[in-house]
Structures are given as C-alpha cells and as structure tokens.
C-alpha cells in the first residue's frame, strides 16, 4: 500500500486541527487564524497532489487503481463498525479540486473579510467545512461519509447564517439546514437499509464492500414489495440525500437563499464544493445505482430518476435565472441548473461525464462567485445588477476574469472548459436509449444559460454606471448587512461613490481560477478523453479524428449554435440597448409580463411550499400544541391533582399517625436516657454500693434459676 493511501486521513485532519486551534484562540488573532487556515489548506493541497500523483503513477495498470485503509471503530453485538478511507481516481481528482479551490477561496477571503470583526470565527468555520468536505471525499464508508456530510451541512448552516444579526441570513440558514435535512433522512434510511441488506457500510473492502460485485449481485436479485430491486430502492433513497444537498428539484429552494452568506462562502460551499457533494455521492455509489441483473437494460430505474431530475432542474433553474436581478442569485440559479446538468450527465453517461462537468464547473463557478464578490465589494456592497453598469472601466481585471468565467459557463466553443464538459453531457444524452427529451431539455438549458449570463455581464460591466454614491449603496435592503462589519473597504472609499478595483489578494485567486477555467476543458475533449479514461482506469490516446466524426461534430455544432443564439439574443436585448436608470422595467417584462412575473418569482415554488408544506406544518404544530396543552396537559394535570391529593393523605397519616407514634417513642427514649443519666450522680459511695447490690441481686438471680 502506498504511503499516501495509508495516511490519507491527514488531509481532512489538518484543516480540522486548524479549525480547533482557531476556535480556542482569541478573537483578535486575525493573522494567526488566517495563517493556520491557509497553512493547513496548503498542506492538505500538497498531500492531495501526492495522492493524485500516486493514482497517476498507477494509472493504466489493470483496472481502476484503488487502495483502502481503515480501522475498527466500535463494536455492537458480534459486529465491528469500521471507518476507513479509499484512494482511487475519483477521490484523488475531488481531493485536488476541493483543496485547491478552497485554498484560493481562503486567500480571497483574507481580503474580502478583512474588516469583519468575526474574522477568526469565519476562518474557523471555513476550515471546519473544508475538513468535513475532504472527509466526505476520502470516506470509504457510508457511515463516515454521512458523518462528514452532516458536518458539512452544519458548517453550511453556520456560514450562511454568519451574519446572523440579519434576519434574512438567519432565516436562510435555517431554511438550508431544514431543507437538506429532508434529503438526509432519505440518505439515512438508505444507509440503514444498505446495512441491513449487506451487513457492511464499507464501499470497497477486497470484495466484501457494499459496492462490490458480490453484494451488488445479492441486492439486484432481491426484490422489494413494489417489484423494484433492492439496489434500486436503496439507490433512490441515497439519491434523495443528493437531491437535498445538490439543490435539485424539488429541494432546490434553499440554495438561492443561501446567498445571504458572505460571498466566499457562496463560492466555496454553494458553487464549488458542498453542492457538488451530492453529485459526488451519486458518483460514489454509482455501482449501486447502475446495478442491474444480467441481461437487463443498463438504464436502471434509479439512473432514469437521476436523469429526469437532473434535466428538469437544469431547464427550470436556467429559466428562473433569466429574470433575477441580484447578481449572486443569478449565479445561484445558474449553479442549480449546472448541478442539474451534472446529474443528467451521471444519469445518461456515467461517472466520468458527470464528474468532468463537476470539476470544470467548480473552477469557473468559483471564479464567477469570487468575481461577483469583487464586484459587490467594489460597488460598496451593492448586489442589484440594475444599479451597476459600466464596471468594465472601473475594474478591468475583474471584468476580464469574469468574462472568462461567463464564457466557460455559457459553453463558448472550443476554448473554454464548460463547452467540453457540457458537450460531453449533451452527447451522452443524445445517445440515451430511453428518451430524447432530456437531450432537448439540456439544449434549451444551454441556450438559456448563454442568454442569462450575457444579460448579467451586459448589465454589470457595460453601459453607464447607474448608481451614484454612498446613498444608493445603502438604500437597498439587500445591502445593509455590513453596517457594523464593513464600514470601510479595502480599496479605500473614494468619497465619490465610484466603484473601484479590488486588492491583489482578491484579484490573484481570480486570475488563477480563470486560467483553470480555460485549460481544464482540454483534459476531456472527444479527441483526448483522458479524464474519462483516468476515472475508468483505461489509457487514453490522442485521436483527432474523433472530433470530426459525424455524430460528435454535428452535436458540437448544434450546441455551439445554441450557445451563440443565447449570446446573441442576450447581447441584442441587454447589451446594445442599455437601460438608462435602475428603475426601468426589464425588456422581457415589457414584452411578456406574465411569463416574466412567473420567472421572477421562481415559479412560485417558495409560495407553494409556504402554502402547503409550511402551512401544514404550522397547522400540525398548532394541533399538537392544542393536544399538548389541553389533552395531554389535562391528563397530566389530573394525575398531578390525584398525586397531590394522595400525598396530602400520606402527609396526614405520616404527621398524625406515624410521626406521632415515632415522636412519642423517641421522646420516651430520650426521657429514659435522661432518667438513667440521673443515676450517675457522681458520688463514689453510690457507685460502690451499686456493686454490692449487683452482687446480691445477681447471686439471688442465679440461685433462683438453679431451683427452677
């Protein structure tokens, strides 16, 4: 076993230790906190690179390289519960991505959070999050996975509600926590069922793991009541967890609200890593999802559900993003939509397809979020795109990197990573034998993606700056979050309210991410499907002819066509004719008021949930309250009164019967003692007389005894 596989646990433990040390240090130790957090992430990143290189070295050997290590955790009955970790290409690639993106975001945060009084708390939570996320990645055991998964959920809650003095942030944190909990319930049920079926929660364990063939064969043949294979049922339950975490329909509602957190949090948790954990979960248990009996269709029910959910989410969220005005909300819906693509990719094309989009998306979406953070920071905490405009000339670097991210997300052909990964998904969807509808949904989503991103960039960076001065910077209700924490800005407030470029500590991560947003695409082109081969343990070779194969080429052209349509449409509607004032209605609003209203209000999903689930919950709570207060409470009161009555009775008997007797007894004893002590009169004559009397009495006593 390689050294790094043996010591893989170090990767999550380092940030965990950093988090612990930060937690016990003083609040003012900003430098220490940042150093610890970033230092631990650098180490984790280096170790991740080690792990990655280890898998690279062994790549191409027979099958997928995979090493596991673990230990016994606790025993119940005759069984040991084991915890452990696994090093395989999937783990390695995620490790590098998570630690690298986290590192960059940590560095960015140093600038972004510089003036927040809770700087240390922020880094404590961030490190804890990174530790848990890395734990999720290396886990070789569904239990360890679940534990880390829940810590991820907890830190997400803590970070969304980081500015908890703001009611909307506190509510968003609560919403995120509760919504994901619904999904986690499914995951927990799936986990328990899996344990009941296979007797192990280890993913891989030399043929005894629950994702290995013997367990899968058993689960495939075992049918549940509904005529579904057990593996499918468990897979669907586990998928429910992924739906919650990755913001898929219908549990997507928390993700846009989560943008209440600081922007680095949005970038780290709600774009690059945590939401990807759901996709990663599906990729991890893919063998379970895709398990099917010999000879049956490869598209199992579980994978079909994944596909449909992914496709619907993709188009749904993309359409909502079109009508949003908050810069981060647009990106949030875009994230939901892209996560839908990943699920779609997993459903139709397998692990490599979905994971490729996950990795590329992580980089360009982190880039976009950090870019938006830079914009918000530069515009004095303004988030409404209608109040921006013309930032191109104020913040050139931010603009350049943001444009790269936007083109990558839109899938601009050939040069940007998003194109290659999205293209691969569409390609796989096209070849899906069950239905073509997901493919069409995906194409429509691609068009919408290009459209809304163009709209956003046009509104933010082109035209004239539509907000002036401090007054408007603080007029919006969305911007009052920093009242205490960020009264001044890193770049210095210039007094005229003009936007400014962000400091280097924020710009450098943007540039690095931009580079990766471009380059990463080339590891998974049809001509050189290295990524695919890496994950599946097959060697990959250059084959440029693949690019020009009729099917591939046609699809590429089609997808490029959609992208260009979207870009053009967006530019035509928003770029050419810039809005003059912030209050002007949207172009689409003028053209299609009803549709725009629907989209602006996110299809009223939140309202529907409010009207159904939340209202039902409130009603149930009231009913329970009534029951508790009057029915159970009444019973309790009755019991109380009966008990009280009985105890008064007992008290009565105790005081007037038992105690009285006892007291009399004690009194008698005491008086007897007093009486006897009076015999001790202190006169030695008496004492001696007593001896004489005793002699006589005792002798008489004995003589009397002798006669009888």
């Amino acid at each position: 076993m390689t050294w790094i596989a043996q010591n893989l646990w170090l990767i999550p433990v380092l940030p965990l230790a950093a988090s612990g040390v930060i937690a016990v240090n003083k609040q003012r130790q900003h430098k220490l906190a940042a150093t610890l957090a970033i230092g631990s992430m650098v180490l984790a990143f280096l170790l991740s690179l080690c792990a990655f290189s280890a898998t690279l070295i062994h790549h191409g050997e027979s099958g997928v390289f995979r090493e596991v290590a673990g230990f016994n955790w606790l025993q119940f009955g005759g069984q040991w519960l084991q915890l452990g970790w696994v090093l395989d290409p999937l783990t390695a690639i995620m490790l590098v991505m998570v630690s690298f993106v986290s590192l960059l975001i940590f560095i960015f945060s140093v600038g972004y959070m510089a003036h927040d009084e809770n700087f240390t708390r922020f880094f404590c939570f961030m490190s804890l999050f990174a530790a848990a996320m890395l734990g999720v990645v290396i886990a070789n055991n569904l239990l360890l996975f679940f534990v880390c998964w829940e810590i991820v959920g907890l830190t997400s809650y803590l970070l969304i509600g980081f500015w908890y003095h703001k009611p909307s942030a506190a509510a968003a944190a609560k919403k995120a926590f509760i919504t994901t909990r619904i999904g986690d319930l499914g995951l927990l049920l799936g986990m328990v069922w899996l344990y009941a079926e296979t007797g192990t929660l280890n993913f891989y364990a030399d043929g005894h793991g629950c994702l290995e063939s013997s367990a899968l064969t058993a689960m495939v043949t075992h049918m549940t009541a509904a005529g579904m294979a057990v593996s499918t049922a468990i897979g669907l339950l586990i998928f429910l967890g992924a739906v919650g975490k990755s913001g898929q329909l219908p549990l997507h509602v928390w993700l846009p609200d989560a943008m209440e957190g600081p922007t680095p949090v949005s970038a780290l948790i709600h774009a690059a890593t945590m939401v990807a954990a759901g996709v990663f979960l599906v990729a991890r248990v893919y063998p379970l999802m895709s398990a099917h009996p010999e000879g049956a269709a490869a598209e199992t029910a579980a994978l079909q559900v994944v596909t449909w959910v992914g496709a619907l989410t993709a188009i749904f969220a993309a359409s909502v993003a079109v009508a949003q005005t908050d810069i981060k909300r647009i990106l949030a819906y875009s994230t939901v939509s892209q996560l839908g693509y990943m699920m779609l990719g997993l459903g139709v094309g397998g692990v490599a397809v979905g994971m490729f989009h996950l990795i590329t998306h992580a980089f360009f979406k982190a880039l976009l979020f950090l870019g938006s953070g830079s914009v918000i920071h530069g515009c004095h905490e303004e988030q409404d795109v209608r109040k921006m405009g013309g930032l191109k000339k104020f913040m050139p670097v931010t603009f350049a990197t943001y444009a790269i991210g936007m083109l990558a997300l839109a899938g601009f052909p050939l040069f940007f990573s998003g194109f290659w990964s999205k293209d691969e998904i569409l390609h796989a969807a096209h070849g899906w034998p069950v239905s073509h509808i997901p493919f069409f949904l995906g194409c429509a989503g691609a068009l919408l993606t290009a459209f809304y991103m163009t709209r956003q960039v046009a509104l933010v960076f082109f035209g004239e700056y539509r907000s002036s001065g401090r007054q408007s910077a603080h007029s919006s209700s969305k911007t009052d979050k920093h009242e205490k924490s960020a009264p001044t800005h890193v770049g210095g407030y210039d007094g005229k309210g003009e936007p400014h470029e962000s400091p280097a500590v924020m710009i450098v991560p943007l540039v690095i991410l931009a580079v990766f947003a471009i380059l990463l695409g080339f590891v998974g082109t049809p001509a050189w499907p290295w990524f695919d081969g890496f994950l599946n343990g097959e060697p990959a070779g250059f084959n440029f002819s693949k690019l020009t194969e009729s099917g591939t080429l046609g699809l590429m052209l089609a997808s490029a066509g959609f992208v260009f349509t979207g870009l053009g449409l967006g530019w035509w509607l928003y770029g050419k004719r810039q809005r003059k004032t912030a209050e002007e209605p949207d172009v689409l609003q003028v053209a299609q008021p009803a549709v725009f209203r629907l989209l602006e209000n996110k299809y009223f999903v939140d309202e529907i949930y409010d009207a159904t689930g939340v209202r039902f919950n409130a009603w149930a709570a009231q009913a329970c309250d009534f029951l508790d207060r009057w029915i159970w409470g009444g019973v309790v009161m009755l019991v109380t009164w009966v008990t009280l009555g009985l105890s008064s009775l007992y008290r009565f008997t105790d005081e007037f019967v038992v105690d009285l007797g006892f007291d009399t007894g004690c009194e008698t004893l005491r008086e007897g003692g007093g009486e006897m002590s009076r015999w001790q009169n202190g006169r030695v004559q008496t004492y001696l007389r007593v001896i004489g009397v005793a002699l006589v009495v005792l002798v008489l006593f004995l003589i009397w005894g002798r006669k009888t």
């Binding site: 006897m676 030695v684 002798v699 006593f701 005894g705």
Partner: protein, 486 residues
C-alpha cells in the same frame, strides 16, 4: 525449664520493660530542661521503637508453648493479640505526642508502656493468679494515667473514683478467685474446670461466677459496673481515655471470654428465651442487655463528647458480651474482630476529640460546630470513625456487628434462643445513630462561630488519624485481613 527460656518466651514484654526504663532515662538525663514538645517527640520515638521491637519479638515464636502450666501461654493468637495491643499503644503514643496536659513526659509514656506490658501478660495468662497480677499491673497504671492532668481537678477526681471503684471490684474478683481455688484446688483454668466438673452448681460457685463477672465487668465497663467510666473518660487526659477504651478493652474481653469458657466450662447455664438455666450465661445476658439499653439511652442526653463516647463504650460492651455469650469458635473470632476494630475506631475518635479539645478548649458537642470548614481532613476522619461506631457499611463497625450478631444467632440456631437479645441489640444500635449523628451534624451541617479560625492539626496526629481511618475502611472492605488471624 530455666529462666533463660522464660525470658525468651517473654521477650516482647521484656523488651517493652527495657523500653520503659529507657524512656525514663532519656527523659531524665538527656532531655532535662528541653521543651515539652521536644521531650514528648523524643520519648514517643523511643516508645514506638520499643513497641516495634517487641512486635518483632513476638514473631520469634510459632506454635503453642505452655512451659509454666498456664502462667505464660504463647500461641499464634496471643502473639497476634500482643501485636494488636502494641499497635494500639503506638497510636496512643502518637496521639499523646502533641499533648500539653503534663510536663511529666517520661512518666506518662512509661506508664502507658507498663500498662501495655500488663495487658500483654494478661492475654498470655491461663492461671488465675497471673491473671490477677497482670490485671492489677494494667489497672494501676491506668489509674495513674487518668490522674495525669494535674491542672484539672476533674482529672484527679476521676482517677480517685476510678481507683476506688477498681479497687473494690478487684477485691470482689480476688474473693471470687479464692473461692474458685477453694472449690477446685487449682489456679490453672483448665484444672479448675476439671475440678468443678460433676459437682453441680454449688452456691459458692455461683458467687464466684458473679464476682468474676464483677471484676471484668468493671474492666469492660458493663452495666452496672460502668459507673466509673463516664467520669473517668471525661476527666482523664484524652489520650489516657483513648487507651482505657481501646487497649484495655481488647485484653479484658479476651481474658473474660477465656475465664468464662475455660474456667467455668460446664457451668454455662442457659439464657435462651423461656429456657433459663442458672450458670454464667444468664449473668452475662443480664449485664449485656442492661449495658446496651442504658449505654445507648444515656448517651442520647450527653453534651460532652467524651462522656458520649463513654456511654457508647458501655453500649458496645453490651454488644460484645453477645460474642462471649454465644460461646462458639465463630463467636470468639467475631468478638475479637469486633473488639479490635472497635479499639482502632474509638482510638481515632478520641484522637479527633484531643485535637478539637486543644483547639477549642472543651469537648462539648457544640465545640464541634462547623468543624468541616475549620478542619476538613479532621472532620472526614471523624465521619469515618463515628459512622463505623454506628455500624454503617462499608466500614469496619458494620462488618463487626454483622459477624457478632450472626454468630450470636448461629450459636443456638435451632431455637433462635439468643434472637431476642440480638433484636434488642439491633434496635439499640438504631438508637445509637441519633447521638453519633448529633456530633456529625455539628461538624458537617452547622456553621462555626463567627471568625472561628481554621484548626491546625499536629501533623503526627493527622498521620495517625488518617492511618486509623484507612484501617477502619480497609477492614470494613476486606475483613479477611483480620479474621484469618483470629
């Protein structure tokens, strides 16, 4: 049998006698003009070394030897009891060592050791003459020890009462013993029993029984021969009282049981419920019952802790007489277990009283108020000792009572004849909780007087008390450590 052999047999006692002389000599010659504390320290050291030497000498004899026909019987049990007596003496010396009640340090320590010698000879004796002589050696030493606090008139008064009462009962004892000699023609206990056999219950024998019981009833402070005890305990310097209550008790109970079971074998009689037959058991029964009732009830109303301990000693003597009564091998070991653990416990209790008396100037129960805040370690020891006296598990007092009572019930298991006495004992020990807890309530619940300073416990005393407390807990948890020797 030459004298050298006798001297060898009596090596522990001889060593102790030499120690007595050395203590006197050191105090007189080397320590003249030094402070009392210094003299007490050195003298105590010499005494303890002597006791340890004597204890070592007891280990030179294994097996049973009786070369003088009962004058000096050495067997494993008597050796063990001598070691116990020496340990009790060491603790007494330790408790005394920080005392300020006398300037006559050498004499005090010498008398303690002399009393110990008397007690050691007593446990070895199976001859009424030897018994009487060693008893007198011990008693006379104890009378003087009682009188040792010359600043206190009560001490002299108590000593005088003790002496008069002791002299009177010694006279009765001697009278009884002479009757025994006249009846049997021998002074050896087993030969007396043989001589008395088959002669029935002669009235003279009955008188001899009663006078013997009087003689030892005085030593163990059993009702109605207890009258000296409260006065003596209260008036005597506390360490002296501790020694009277501990070492003297152990030896006296052992020898009382021996005389009654060996010398009056065949004249037991019966004290079972509705089956009264004349003999020594009915006498002991009456004395035991009276002791338990009177001791416990009178202790309730005491306001002086030393008097309280005196009455509790009377009550305990009552319980221990049950072990004499039962007259079986298991009851004898139960009796010895009880008396030894009782001696250790009461020694500790008196030790605590010594410290409190020195610090507060009195031994009234109210002087113990707030002790737990003024001297936490001391009050913890007090807690252990008093709860052990009350018989709370897992302390030695509980297991001792358990052995004793079960042995008493087991002695006549078929008819449950002694059950009535055991029931009385249990009821009375329930009563005893009241007065022990009175003291503990003062120490642990009530507050000390305003501005009461912390009590400084002399380190030596503290060590001795902690050791005693540990022993009490240890013997309660692992009684086998002791019972296998008995």
């Amino acid at each position: 049998m030459n004298y050298l052999q006798v001297l060898q047999l009596a090596a522990p006692e001889a060593a102790l006698a030499i120690t007595v002389l050395m203590v006197l000599a050191v105090d007189l010659i080397a320590l003249r003009g030094k402070s009392v504390a210094r003299r007490f320290g050195t003298g105590a050291m010499v005494s303890i070394v002597g006791c340890l030497m004597a204890a070592v000498f007891t280990f030179t004899h294994y097996g049973t030897t009786d070369p003088l026909h009962g004058l000096l019987v050495v067997d494993p049990l008597t050796n063990f009891l001598k070691v116990v007596l020496l340990i009790l003496t060491i603790f007494t010396v330790l408790i005394s060592a920080s005392g300020k009640f006398t300037e006559h340090v050498g004499e005090y320590l010498a008398l303690v050791l002399l009393a110990t010698i008397g007690l050691m000879f007593l446990v070895s004796a199976e001859d009424i003459l030897m018994i009487f002589i060693s008893l007198e050696l011990a008693s006379l030493s104890l009378y003087i020890l009682t009188a040792f606090n010359k600043h206190n008139a009560k001490s002299s008064e108590a000593a005088l009462k003790y002496f008069l009462f002791g002299g009177m009962s010694a006279a009765f004892l001697l009278f009884g013993l002479s009757l025994l000699y006249g009846l049997s023609g021998s002074t050896n206990l087993s030969q007396i029993a043989a001589g008395l056999a088959g002669r029935g219950l002669d009235p003279l024998l009955l008188v001899a029984i009663v006078t013997t019981v009087i003689g030892f009833g005085f030593k163990v402070a059993a009702v109605p021969f207890h009258l000296w005890a409260p006065d003596a305990y209260e008036g005597a310097p506390t360490p002296s009282a501790a020694f009277i209550a501990s070492g003297s008790k152990v030896a006296s109970f052992y020898i009382l049981a021996k005389i009654l079971t060996m010398g009056f074998a065949g004249a037991e009689g019966s004290a079972v419920w509705q089956g009264y037959v004349s003999g020594w058991t009915p006498v002991i029964t009456v004395v035991a019952a009276l002791s338990m009732v009177l001791g416990n009830l009178t202790a309730i109303v005491q306001s002086s802790v030393k008097r309280l301990l005196a009455y509790s000693a009377i009550a305990h003597a009552g319980y221990m007489l049950l072990g004499v009564l039962a007259n079986t091998p298991s009851s004898r070991s139960a009796l010895l277990f009880y008396v030894i653990t009782y001696a250790l416990t009461v020694l500790g209790a008196f030790g605590v009283v010594t410290v409190v008396e020195a610090a507060t100037g009195g031994d009234a129960i109210s002087n113990f108020a707030g002790l737990s805040r003024r001297a936490p370690g001391l009050s913890l020891c007090l807690l252990v000792f008093l709860l052990s006296l009350a018989g709370i598990p897992p302390l030695a007092g509980f297991i001792g009572k358990f052995f004793l009572f079960s042995a008493a019930v087991g002695a006549d298991a078929e008819h449950l004849g002694l059950l009535w006495l055991v029931v009385l004992a249990i009821v009375m020990s329930a009563v005893s909780f009241y007065y022990y807890l009175q003291v503990l309530k003062q120490a642990w619940v009530l507050d000390a007087a305003e501005n009461a300073p912390a009590i400084k416990v002399p380190p030596v005393t503290m060590v001795a008390l902690v050791l005693l407390a540990v022993l009490v807990i240890l013997l309660g948890c692992a009684p086998g450590l002791l019972t296998r020797h008995l």
